[in-house]
């Protein structure tokens, strides 16, 4: 044994689950009616969000600024794709990702000074400050009413959701593969080490600050790209798109699914989305059910669905050996 088999198997599993999600979503889109496609687009964009969010949690901090940083990408697309600049939409999405990363880099200076609850609070404050920027810089952002007439990429067409779904899936696939490879990298291992014990890590020579900042910035790039795609898909952005409700959905996905492995938050997101769709007739109950679910999971399965799945797997393996 060289101790490497486990992490390699983990990478294979992660890649497998990403492919499964892409194929599953694609297959569902093929067999379902057109009105489902819109929900699938939002699901895939959320999948990018939770996966990039999970990259941040590996360094040991749960940010509450993720959707506000996503907003940076969204506004970047809204502004840069419109006249007088009028850049191609996909280029704007990429720029939006970079800008989101730069904003995260600037934020990391104050925000990464804090840990645990204080990190949660300081990122909450930073996120609200960003949202206030979206509201206050009216000339650029359109204030509370936001910006409209954001184009979709030219080759996609403006009416049907299905072509946009293929684009979103392609972007998800690329980002998710990058994320799971990063997770299995030397830097990914070091970030998790810092997340587990920062004092120990620093004493061994790990640049804890730089590693935490790297996780925060890379995760934020993913959020910016998701935001840019959302703006292009909706055709409109407003500050309220980036509020606490969406943030809660992401955090809840990570709690319900677990964050030890990349597929955990994805499983959590699927779970929450299924609940949301099942209660479509009475949407007011959805946050209530989500909240209840988070409490139940925190109390009875602190590692999330992930840990339950692994427990079942072990049980089966044990039975096979016996």
């Amino acid at each position: 044994m060289n101790g490497g088999t486990d992490t390699r198997r983990a990478l294979r599993q992660d890649i497998g689950s990403v492919l499964a999600l892409v194929i599953g979503t694609g297959a569902l889109a093929m067999v379902s009616a057109a009105y489902v496609h819109g929900a699938l687009v939002l699901f895939v964009l959320n999948a990018i969000l939770v996966l990039s969010y999970r990259t941040i949690t590996t360094m040991g901090g749960w940010s509450f600024a993720h959707v506000a940083i996503m907003g940076v990408g969204a506004y970047a697309v809204a502004i840069l794709s419109a006249p007088p600049i009028g850049l191609p939409v996909l280029l704007c999405v990429a720029i939006g990702g970079v800008l989101a990363g730069l904003v995260a880099m600037a934020l990391s200076w104050p925000v990464l000074r804090t840990r645990q609850y204080y990190f949660f609070l300081s990122t909450f404050a930073a996120g609200e400050a960003l949202r206030q920027c979206f509201i206050q810089f009216k000339g650029l952002t359109g204030g509370t009413s936001g910006l409209a007439f954001i184009p979709r990429p030219g080759f996609i067409g403006d009416s049907a959701a299905l072509p946009f779904l293929w684009l979103a899936l392609a972007v998800f696939l690329a980002l998710a593969l990058a994320a799971v490879c990063f997770d299995a990298s030397e830097t990914g291992m070091k970030i998790r080490a810092v997340g587990e014990d920062e004092t120990l890590s620093a004493s061994l020579g790990l640049d804890a600050w730089g590693l935490r900042a790297t996780a925060f910035v890379l995760g934020s790039v993913g959020a910016g790209i998701a935001g840019g795609l959302l703006a292009s898909y909706n055709g409109i952005v407003a500050p309220n798109d980036f509020g606490a409700a969406l943030m809660f959905k992401i955090v809840a996905s990570c709690i319900v699914g677990g964050t030890r492995r990349a597929w955990g938050p994805l499983l959590g997101l699927i779970f929450l989305t299924v609940i949301e769709e099942a209660f479509r007739a009475v949407p007011v109950y959805v946050p209530l059910i989500w909240g209840g679910l988070v409490i139940v999971v925190t109390l009875y399965a602190p590692g999330g669905l992930e840990s339950l799945v692994e427990r079942v797997q072990r049980r089966f393996k044990g039975a096979a050996h016996a």
């Binding site: 044994m1 060289n2 101790g3 490497g4 486990d6 992490t7 390699r8 990478l11 490879c181 990063f182 299995a184 990298s185 030397e186 830097t187 990914g188 291992m189 070091k190 970030i191 080490a193 587990e196 014990d197 004092t199 120990l200 890590s201 620093a202 004493s203 061994l204 020579g205 790990l206 640049d207 804890a208 730089g210 590693l211 900042a213 790297t214």
Partner: protein, 254 residues
């Protein structure tokens, strides 16, 4: 090798470390002893960069390292363990120790280190080597979180060792262990010295430190009260009264 000059640290009105001078010779085990609260751990924290000194200098081969952040100090070759043992409990022993071997390597924002880790990386061999040296070789695939306290302590030393230190700082490596675990850890420390490592050993257990150390510095209330060989320290009246009270060294070891 490692030199401390006038090292001082105050916390508010408490002066935890008060002008300590100490010289650790290359290849030696240097013991640092003193009663509880006398400033041993604080001295460790100052040398390792966990705390910033209020005054004074820490020199490694003549170069000033005092006041640098902990990870820089570690990269310059001074690596420490903690009085309350710290290990990566969620990893296997091999993975945990390998973090030590990788720690000084590369910048976080280097994209070449963002690709999947290859297990034929030299750090894997270095980690196996550190585990073997500490006698943990057969347990490489065990989960670090499941170890009994003695092995946990040894794992923390193996992790530090994998970071290839020039000076190893050990903060009470024998505390809280039973007699056989103590003997085992002491043997491992002795072995490291024979391999040529320089060690600063903070200890409460007087018998062990007398046996292990080449030289000993005794501190009380943050000040050095004696420095010398174990034999000299054992005879020193100031040490006996200040540190051991009325008891003789052989009895104090418990």
């Amino acid at each position: 090798m490692l030199e401390v000059r006038g090292l001082t640290k105050t916390f508010g009105s408490i002066t935890a470390v008060d002008g300590i001078d100490m010289q650790v010779a290359a290849g030696a085990i240097h013991g640092l002893i003193g009663p509880n609260g006398s400033g041993k751990s604080t001295t460790m924290n100052l040398i390792s960069g966990t705390y910033r000194p209020t005054a004074g200098q820490v020199l490694l081969n003549g170069a000033a390292i005092g006041g640098q952040p902990a990870f820089r100090v570690a990269r310059m070759g001074v690596v420490r363990t903690f009085q309350l043992t710290r290990v990566y409990g969620q990893l296997s022993l091999l993975e945990a120790v390998r973090i030590g071997a990788l720690a000084g390597n590369g910048a976080p924002w280097n994209p070449r280190l963002w690709r999947p880790f290859r297990h034929d990386h030299p750090a894997t061999e270095a980690a196996h080597d550190a585990l073997r040296r500490m006698g943990l070789g057969p347990h490489a695939d065990r989960n670090a979180g499941s170890l009994p306290s003695g092995m946990r302590r040894i794992l923390s030393i193996a992790t530090a060792l994998a970071a290839s230190p020039r000076v190893l700082l050990l903060d009470e490596p024998l505390a809280g262990l039973n007699a056989s675990e103590k003997a085992e850890v002491a043997d491992r420390i002795q072995q490291l010295r024979q391999d040529g490592l320089t060690i600063l050993l903070v200890e409460h257990d007087v018998r062990s430190i007398m046996r292990l150390s080449d030289r000993i510095t005794v501190i009380n209330f943050g000040k050095v009260i004696a420095t010398g060989t174990p034999a000299e320290i054992g005879r020193n009246e100031a040490v006996i009264t200040a540190y051991l009270g009325d008891r003789r060294p052989a009895h104090a070891a418990g």
